[in-house]
Amino acid sequence: MSSKLTSLRDAVAELVHDGDTVAIEGFTHLISFAAGHEIIRQGRRDLTLARLTPDLVYDQMVAAGVARKLIFSWLGNPGVGSLHAIRRRVESADPAPLELEEYSHHGMVGRYVAGAANLPFYPLRSYFESDLPAANPNIRQVRSPFGAETVYAVPPLKPDVTIVHAQRADAAGNTQIWGLLGCQREAAFAAERVIVVVEELVDEAVVRSDPNRTAIPGLIVDAVVVEPFGAHPSYVQGYYDRDNAFYLEWEAISRDPAALDAWLDEWVHGVGGRDEYVAKLGPERLAALKPGPAPSGSVDYGAYR
């Protein structure tokens, strides 16, 4: 088993290029803020950012000037309000326009599914009598080859790079996730290159003891990075809760371009990497996010010889 262990700095330097389509997925859960910040620090430009829910991480990346386009299905600060840096780009081209390509959630999920399954489109029963197809010519009607029924189709999405945060992986990149799965699997299988960022590195034997929990096989993973608290201020089921105070603070920070720049200077450009960010947050803030225990029962897979 060859190790794919590397640093986030090296993984981003090697695998994320200017002009790439990048998907940092994770529905509220498991959002790789660590990778987003590293991409900002390395000054990538002209990225197309794909995510169902852009969340704060893409507001920060858009504000930092790494992106020219956004592919998405729900644009907001979940449970709080707006993503103001993105809104400024869209509503007033401030400081520059941002191209949008917009779907519904099922449409975005289907795009990754088609990408992962190497299909020319994904059919779905959505978009009837909605204005979305008029706003996005990539949402098209198709007739069933087996009858008169008409459904809508969306094209495959094959990111150049998908970045997934997860609870644990082995050094070969066999990755286990529990809690909300979002479309981590689909986005990873659809991608040309995959970076996995984990809370914990585990032995291959740990993965093999519970194969039902493996979401992403090392087969499709290019780099494994161990970065505890790498999803903060989002959360990791069983490890830490969402730092909701920060999501609330972001509302005011992102409203004010100067405050946003100052935040990026302090928390992204002003730290060398995730370890410094975590140290800067301090142990008290992180300890407050630790959930109580709720262990799963264990199952017996049986030994068959």
């Binding site: 529905f27 509503e91 029963r125 959505s126 009837f128 909605s130 979305l132 029924e149 809690g179 979002g182």
Partner: protein
């Protein structure tokens, strides 16, 4: 009976009561979240809460801060992934009620959550569809919760994100049938002033007015002349227990009720 309650509390309570007798509810972003969680603690203890983040049968121990909160996972019946959730559960026809919020709604229950103004150069860029478009099409029926104002109850929505009763009348029902939609569309809109249902022609009609709200206010907060049930009953005020659940358990910080 409690004399002192806010309009937001009345709205949330009235919305939760609508879920009595329902089995499977797809919980939308924002106000539907607290209404559905209140329903599970009151009128519908066996209600299966479905979250688009990929959870079936959530039993949240606290009010989820968002629809992707870890509390919807711990103790749930199943985490599904989003593909399975949208393809098998929603599109497969297992959702009885889709509970949605809206920025704009018209008299036929068509919903806008995308933009205010022109799509290409919007005055306000709203979040967009999320799962709402396919929920509006595939959930057996749709409940809506939103505050009334002249900005939200409009003659013509700026963008149709999620279809309701389209242009109304028999055409909407026929089109839903012909195109193979599973859902029959919106059946109730609960606001801070009252409860609207839909007539046979697919138009909203005020069926109940909340205590403390006046018909003048209802009219002043809608772009069209509302249809009124006759007689028009008054909504039962929140009980002490409903208010206690909202104030002490679900929303002690008042995020939804301010």
């Amino acid at each position: 009976m409690s004399a002192d309650f806010s309009r937001s509390e009345m709205m949330i309570v009235a919305a939760a009561r609508e879920l009595a007798g329902q089995k499977v509810c797809f919980v939308g972003v924002g106000l539907p979240n607290i209404a559905c969680n209140l329903a599970q603690r009151t009128v519908a203890p066996d209600l299966e809460l479905v979250y688009e983040s990929g959870v079936f049968g959530a039993r949240p121990a606290r009010l989820p801060l968002s629809i992707g909160d870890p509390t919807i996972v711990t103790g749930a019946t199943a985490t599904t992934g989003m593909f399975e959730l949208f393809a098998y559960y929603l599109q497969g026809g297992l959702i009885d009620v889709g509970f949605l919020g809206a920025a704009q709604i018209d008299r036929f229950g068509n919903i806008n959550t995308t933009v205010i103004g022109d799509y290409d150069r919007p005055k306000v860029r709203l979040p967009g569809s999320g799962g709402a478009c396919e929920i509006a099409i595939n959930a057996r029926e749709v409940f809506v919760i939103m505050r009334q104002s002249t900005r939200s109850f409009v003659e013509k929505i700026d963008f149709r994100t999620s279809p309701g009763n389209l242009g109304g009348g028999a055409d909407a029902a026929r089109l839903r049938r012909d195109e193979g939609w599973l859902g029959r569309g919106p059946s109730v809109v609960v606001t801070d002033l009252g409860i609207h249902r839909f007539t046979e022609t697919g138009e909203m009609r005020l069926e109940s007015i909340h205590p403390g709200a006046s018909l003048d206010e209802v009219r002043a907060t809608m772009a069209w002349e509302p249809l009124l049930a006759d007689p028009l009953p008054s909504t039962s005020p929140p009980s002490d227990e409903e208010l206690r659940l909202i104030r002490e358990e679900l929303d002690p910080l008042g995020a939804y009720t301010r």
